[in-house]
């Protein structure tokens, strides 16, 4: 594989950028693989990369219905954080933060990780108390957390509404200084390029139409490009998990919903933090191009359409304007939607299934992008060793029937709970 560096950049600039190698190949599916990963998004590509790198399993195929990185890894708001209260989420995400910090070097691909900090705003005394508790839980798990008072928040984000006459005055906030953003497409492409170089077949435009299961054991998959035998199969198809589960006669604690995001026209640098509104569901950051990147609630009803409706967008942006009034002056550049696996407790599932050799990675709700490296790493471990790692032990499929829910915010399919 061609290594990317300042020298390769200069060399290729001098030859008119005509001689770059392809970043990954376009192979035809082989007859058999040790592991087949369904879904060429961030999580699937990361899983294949860690299977090859950490477990030396390289007879691996990634099967993608569309093109790699065309789903939620290309549709999110690029936020990376580990500001969780519960141990399961905190330790898992903080493990991921370490992988994020090393990712550009590890993948030899600039993912533009920008640890600019995230501030969750508080709008009441009770919320400040809750944030103090969450911040303390985070620090006990080795995650950085700073409780900010009103004046400290004002210093960091003076453009927020600090006037006296607001419905939800800012009391303070909880900041995780090491959180931030990254270039989402680069994450998919970086993992794809490295996985490909280690022998993983990335097979695009290939739809999975069925599974071959006999005697409770997975034997292979059926696709639009022929049958493929596989010893192990991993599902990484957020947004389509219910569709594939139906082909396996499984019913999961997941509903498929639509989440919208939007960006404004680009403006000069104004916001160097990720900020979330505490009296509703709204988050904002500014991209390197100057666009304000914003998102919030689900559309609220089951949906497989990768486009949303205006009422939700209006609701979300109303919160945005309440928090930062200057947003009302901006023109909207783009809006889009992605389809989410909404699990019933708002936390993901990375587990084995009742079918031997079939593994499940789903239920990422609002937080799939930031989990990409940790999800890939733990899912690769679960597949390679045929047992869950302690980091994803809490993300079990049977936690719903046994009552071991991870109710971080309880924010699953029911948006009105928040």
């Amino acid at each position: 594989m061609q290594k990317y560096s300042i020298f390769s950049l200069v060399k290729n600039a001098l030859t008119g950028h005509q001689n770059w190698d392809l970043a990954w190949k376009d192979p035809n599916p082989k007859e058999e693989y040790d592991v087949v990963i369904i879904g060429g998004g961030g999580h699937g590509l990361a899983t294949a990369y860690y299977l090859a790198k950490e477990h030396q399993i390289t007879k691996v195929a990634i099967i993608e219905k569309g093109w790699i990185g065309g789903g939620n890894v290309g549709r999110n708001t690029t936020i990376i954080r580990s500001n969780y209260m519960h141990d399961e989420n905190g330790l898992f995400s903080e493990f991921g933060m370490d992988l994020w910090r090393k990712m550009s070097q590890d993948l030899n691909y600039n993912v533009m990780f920008s640890p600019r900090g995230i501030i969750n705003l508080a709008h009441s005394d009770a919320q400040m108390n809750a944030y103090a508790r969450r911040g303390n839980s985070m620090r006990l798990n080795g995650i950085d957390a700073v409780l900010l008072n009103r004046e400290e928040v004002k210093e960091l984000i003076p453009m927020a509404d600090f006037s006296d006459n607001v419905r939800f005055p800012i009391f303070g906030g909880l900041m995780q200084p090491s959180a931030g953003t990254a270039r989402h497409d680069a994450v998919a492409w970086g993992y794809a390029r490295q996985a490909d170089s280690m022998g993983v077949d990335i097979i695009q435009n290939c739809e999975v139409t069925g599974f071959d299961v006999s005697a409770g054991k997975i034997k292979g998959i059926r696709t639009s490009r022929g049958n493929i035998k596989a010893k192990k199969v991993g599902l990484c198809v957020a947004g389509s998990t219910n569709i594939l589960a139906e082909k396996l006669n499984m019913t999961l604690p997941i509903e498929t919903h639509l989440l919208q995001a939007c960006v404004s026209e680009p403006v000069k640098p104004v916001l160097d933090k990720v900020v979330t509104f505490g009296a509703g569901h709204f988050y904002i950051s500014q991209s390197d191009k100057g666009e304000m990147v914003m998102g919030g609630d689900l559309d609220g009803y089951n949906s497989y359409a990768q486009r949303g409706n205006l009422p939700t967008l209006q609701h979300v942006l109303t919160e945005g304007i309440a928090m930062m009034p200057f947003l009302s002056k901006l023109k909207m550049l783009r809006t889009w939607g992605g389809i989410m696996d909404m699990s019933m407790d708002g936390s993901p599932i990375i587990d084995k299934t009742h079918i031997e050799g079939l593994y499940l990675n789903c239920g990422w709700c609002y937080g799939g992008f930031k989990a990409t490296p940790a999800s890939g790493w733990t899912f690769a471990h679960t597949i390679a060793q045929d047992r869950v790692h302690e980091l994803n032990a809490g993300y079990s499929l049977n936690r719903f029937s046994t009552g071991h829910l991870i109710d971080e915010k309880g924010l699953g399919t029911k948006t009105w709970i928040s």
Binding site: N242, I243, E246, T251, L252, P253, I254, E255, T256, G300, Y301, N302, S303, Y304, A305, N309, L310, P311, M344, F400, S401, T413, K414, W416
Partner: protein, 89 residues
Amino acid sequence: MLHIKCPHCGMRSQNEFSYGGDATVKRPELNKEVTDQEWDNFVYNRVSPRGKHLELWQHLSGCRQWIKVERDTATHEIFKTYKANEEIA
């Protein structure tokens, strides 16, 4: 914007409604032995199909009645709406 025909009030905008989820889920019978698996299916597990989906909505900013709506989850087309207690063939 969805337009939902409330069987009590007529065609209204989605802003007046609140979503209540899958309408085909049945609560386990009272006064019967119910297994953990049955509770699990009732409380948590959902088919969430791509295509026709029968779902509950409440006309919250209207007559406040719960209704059933048959809607396509991929195209958002609404085929038919029913009163909550209406039998569906």
